[in-house]
Symmetry: C2
Subunit: 210 residues, 2 copies
DNA sequence: GGTTCAATTACTCGAATGGGTAATAATCGA
DNA sequence: TCGATTATTACCCATTCGAGTAATTGAACC
């Protein structure tokens, strides 16, 4: 028996099996109801319009549109939308971008069911809940200096394995300019050399390895 | 109605929701039956003894014991065990190690249900089936020269961001020795410098970024 | 016993990298 | 309009790195 006002949940995840299982888990809670599900970010937006869920459980890696963009798009149209990110990937940068984009919580897919249900209820009640572990990660990310546009480009090329000279010609600037950017990058990333910078960029999710 | 001799499947994956959903998907096929499931690699081994499944669907990232080790352990005791790897992670090295360890197939979690069911049937019939995309990846891995023990250690330290001098003192050898290893590493990995080598190691899954 | 391969070290040399310092121009928010 | 940030370039200098070449040792394999 459902209560009169169950919390209406929408699932966005590209694994059908996961959606199915998650739906079953959630439905076993008397106050939760799965009202919509999809594996596509773009589809999620129009589905939100139709289903008007109380809570969205959103994966980050989605075909077509990324999870963060989907959150931004939804919240642009529905500023009160309550989105919880539920994903396997958890770099500092992922967490940071998700929260920045307006997500109310961030959970990993191996989160115990009871914690998940509690988080859904808490977020539905208007709270913003983060597991302590991830909150620490977020704090770590916050402390890290913001990279400028140009620095990010240089870092991206660095991760592609390009030399200073190559990066310079890629960006149509002098090699000394690239060196200058690298110097500030090293400081901001707390590293000593380019290899550490490249690894750090990948580890923190600043640059994707795709 | 089940047939008299359904294919008995065991699920090993640390996400309860995924197990639940996958079980439901598989059970919807009349000739498939989920007879056991667990989220733990070590537990999988004794569960195999009890349940004697025809097919094991195995994730690679598991708490405690890794998926590859679990496959090896199972096949040591039951050389005829038919294991299909079902995972989100798909570096060349992952695929390679899985097949080396005796897995009969390797699928990604977003595999369409019908393909999955067909693969289970094919493997149960004794075939070794790989999606063309992953077969290519495996071929790419096969072409890559095997790294020696020492080279792998050097690469691991390189990915940790250590300099030649540091790697040398870590391994109690001369810096020239490290340089020599790096030279052969560059050739084997088809790269020009240490940064590319580090990225390549991570991208191919030779070194984990944990 | 010869061969192949991994591991080790050494030496040279040129190129790439990183640190320090500094100057200029543009943009931007207060 | 002033200070801050960003982007740009330049120069110097020490260190690190990478390529080439080569030799030795020990284990594994046949």
């Amino acid at each position: 028996m459902k209560k009169k006002n169950p919390i209406r949940v929408m699932l966005v995840d590209d694994h059908p099996a996961f959606r199915k299982g998650m739906a079953a888990l959630l439905e076993s809670e008397p106050d939760l109801q799965v009202v919509a599900e999809t594996g596509d970010g773009r589809h999620a937006i129009e589905l939100f319009r139709q289903a008007a869920p109380d809570i969205v459980l959103m994966d980050l890696r989605l075909p077509g549109m990324g999870g963060v963009e989907a959150i931004i798009a939804i919240r642009k149209e529905f500023p009160n939308a309550r989105v919880i990110v539920l994903t396997t990937f958890d770099t500092d940068e992922d967490i940071y971008r998700a929260i920045q984009s307006g997500a109310k919580s961030f959970l990993l897919k191996d989160t115990p069911e009871d914690v998940l249900a509690d988080t859904i209820r808490a977020v539905h009640a208007g709270e913003q809940k983060l597991p302590p572990k991830l909150a620490d990660r977020l704090a770590a990310r916050q402390k890290r200096a913001e990279l400028s546009q140009r620095e990010t480009e240089v870092l991206r090329l660095l991760v592609k394995g390009r030399s200073n000279k190559e990066i310079a010609s890629d960006l149509f600037v002098a090699e000394d300019t690239v060196k200058a950017h690298l110097k500030t990058l090293f400081v901001k990333l707390h590293v000593q050399d380019r290899t550490q910078a490249a690894i750090s960029a990948v580890r923190h999710g600043i640059v994707q390895l795709d």
